[in-house]
Amino acid sequence: MTERADGGHVGDERKLRLLVGKVGLDGHDRGAKIIARALRDAGFEVIYTGLHQTPEMVVATAIQEDVDAVSLSILSGAHNYLFPRVIELLKEKGAQDIAVFGGGIVPDEDITALKQAGVREIFTPGATTESVIAWVRANIQPRPLGPT
């Protein structure tokens, strides 16, 4: 497949739409903001939720904004609750085709368990913005457009 300069693929109906979210009480938004900005600069459409969102709020925004993937940044240690909860809520709303990935301080063994629970990828401290962008290009496809 041939890449376009905006990060989409030739023949795509539209640019990828990505939601970058901060769930829970964690105020560490440095990483989320850098990723949001880097994804936007790479040509994707990015919606940043801001801080202190509940899983319910993130899922509602994801569906309303018709995004292709949800990316969560969690540095509070609450990843084992928050990632699976977002996946569960997406399923409940029939939106399980919205991919979930993320980043934060997440130990290796938790990453394995979270991937089994359906999280597509977890980036840990030291990951470059390029590696995240490359992963998104390789792994996230535009969802079929819903009824407008």
Partner: protein, 561 residues
């Protein structure tokens, strides 16, 4: 010959003689390495510093003074570490109050000289462990405190008249402080014997750390109430630790850390004066908290510049008369954001250099990060190495023998001046906006930090700034590192304790006390004695915090990308 050269007399060779006659040839045959010679904050660094770099107006008496004398560039004490070493204060808090109490006892037994308490996120946000947003976060990043019952366990067996305690809490700081006072009452310790520090720096929450309850202006009212109360009743308590640490962790440059922190300090002093307090009654109890990041000389210069700027601000701008108001005392913590999850033992070397910068910058107390903190909360063995790092600097390295050993270095003095100038220019811009609260409301520091943080990340991604083990010298197969796990049982046990406390307390009295607190929010009455009454009756962090919301409102951030 340069002016500086002439001043010092004699027909010395000048820098330009050297550049023409010696350096030029070398540069032709073997040029310098093709890298940017800049600090981690991207300040350009010259090849060589000489007396010329200090500028025509530079005089030792005006810029440096002597240790313990204005403007305190060389340190706030006449003897510095020859008199007393810095306080080794490792931040601890995780799981239940029992877990953290055990770590406190461990650290005290191993030579730590002060306590430092980390609270979990729900507590920091003024929410109880049973609040819906607290799910999954109880006891994770710090200790969970809902009511006085938790604080009683947290400080069990620790006589509060014999330790100094630092508490990292901001939005609900006054509530937690009242719980500490109530524990002291139960131990029979008079309030005027209590020593410690409350972070209580709400302005940097809006700028960087993002744990708030109310909007900035009503939050400042609680802070001035606390300053007034402590000046009267808890005179040895440091009421605010004005914090650059989190600003830096959020991605600011060294200059931004310094400038925004000092602008916060200026806002607190102004608020205190507006509340009718005499500056010399509360200013000596303000302290600062800085980050010690990777760039060694930039950090030393930042800390030396910080003391000098504050001394001038307090004496000249606020006309404080008491020299104790002019002296900036500060705590330092090594930079958590500089730690890497990759090859984590490398972090021991990073922390050592950062801690050395803090010591050569003249810190009063120091926390050294543990090497495993990019992976999880630290294990006991990693915490021990971090504490030992400080002890090695203090007792083996010899750097404590002379006061301000880097003072007088052309490079360090030129860098101190440069950082001071750039910070003052930021402070001037913030003054023009109407002060820090107005600047926060328009998102100014937030945007400056977001830009700096993105700029740095791009430099790392392009390999212009090295992070060893990450974008340089990376290895694929890393050995496993043992990490600390917090079990799910902490959350369950905490919920059970909260329920049993609520069932056992005098509900009628508590509701009366909470109503009195809520009513006082609309008046000028000092809120602290009313909060103390509520916590004595086991009112919770969330109940007290929410009591003020009808009058104070809540804060919502407009995100700046």
């Amino acid at each position: 010959m340069s002016d500086a050269g002439k001043r010092r007399g004699g027909n010395r060779r000048t820098r330009s003689d050297w550049e023409k006659e010696t350096l030029a040839d070398t540069l032709r045959t073997s040029p310098e390495r093709p890298v940017g010679f800049t600090t981690v904050s991207d300040l350009p660094i010259e090849r060589l510093y000489t007396a010329d770099d200090l500028g025509p107006g530079w005089t030792e008496s005006e810029k440096l003074g002597f240790p313990g004398e204005f403007p305190y560039t060389r340190g706030i004490h006449p003897t510095m570490y020859r008199g007393r070493l810095w306080t080794m204060r490792q931040f601890a808090g995780f799981g239940s109050a029992e877990d953290t109490n055990a770590r406190f006892h461990y650290l005290l037994e191993h030579g730590q000289t002060g306590l430092s308490t980390a609270f979990d996120l729900p507590t920091l946000m003024g929410r109880n462990s049973d609040d819906a947003l607290a799910r999954g976060e109880v006891g994770r990043e710090g200790v969970a405190v809902d009511t006085l019952a938790d604080m009683e366990i947290l400080f069990r067996g620790i006589p509060l008249d014999r330790v100094s305690t630092s508490m990292t809490i901001n939005a609900p700081a006054a509530v937690i402080f009242c719980m500490y006072l109530a524990v002291a009452e139960k131990q029979g310790v008079p309030f005027d014997k209590l020593e410690g520090t409350l972070q209580n720096d709400i302005l940097k929450e809006y700028i960087a750390q993002k744990e708030w309850i109310y909007p900035p202006r009503p939050s400042m009212r609680i802070i001035t109430d606390l300053m007034a109360y402590c000046a009267r009743a808890v005179p040895k308590w440091n009421t605010i630790s004005i914090s650059g640490y989190h600003i830096r962790e959020a991605g600011s440059t060294a200059v931004q850390e310094l400038a925004f922190t000092l602008a916060d300090g200026i806002a607190y002093v102004e608020a205190g004066r507006k509340a009718g307090l005499d500056v010399d009654d509360f200013a000596p109890r303000l302290s600062y908290f800085f980050n010690a990041h990777n760039d060694f000389f930039e950090e030393v210069a930042k800390l030396r510049a910080a003391r000098r700027i504050w001394a001038h601000v307090m004496r000249d701008r606020f006309e404080a008369k008491n020299p104790r108001s002019w002296k900036m005392r500060f705590h330092t913590q090594t930079a958590g954001c500089s730690l890497t999850a990759q090859q984590p033992l490398n972090n021991v070397a990073r922390v050592t250099l950062q801690a050395l910068a803090a010591v050569l910058g003249g810190t009063q107390s120091l926390h050294t990060d543990s090497y495993d903190e990019a992976l999880a909360l630290p294990t006991q063995s990693a915490v021990t190495v971090a504490l030992r790092t400080q002890q090695i600097i203090a007792e083996e390295s010899g750097v404590v023998n002379a006061i301000d050993p880097l003072g007088g270095s052309y490079f360090v003095e030129a860098l101190t001046d440069k950082i001071e100038r750039e910070a003052l220019s930021y402070i001037e811009r913030i003054d023009q906006m109407g002060g820090m609260i107005a600047a926060i409301e328009r998102g100014f520091p937030q945007k400056e930090i977001a830009d700096a943080s993105y700029h740095y990340q791009r430099q790392v991604d392009r390999g212009e700034k090295s992070i060893v083990g990450v974008n340089a010298y990376a290895i694929d197969d890393e050995p496993h590192t043992e990490i600390l796990k917090i079990g799910e049982d902490v959350e369950r046990a905490q919920l059970a304790r909260l329920a049993s406390v609520k069932a056992g307390r005098n509900e009628v009295q508590l509701q009366r006390d909470l109503a009195a607190l809520a009513a006082a929010a609309a008046t000028d009455e000092n809120l602290i004695p009313l909060m103390l009454a509520c916590v004595r009756n086991y009112g919770s962090v969330q109940e007290l915090s929410q009591a003020l919301v009808p009058v104070f409102g809540t804060y919502r951030e407009v995100s700046v990308l």
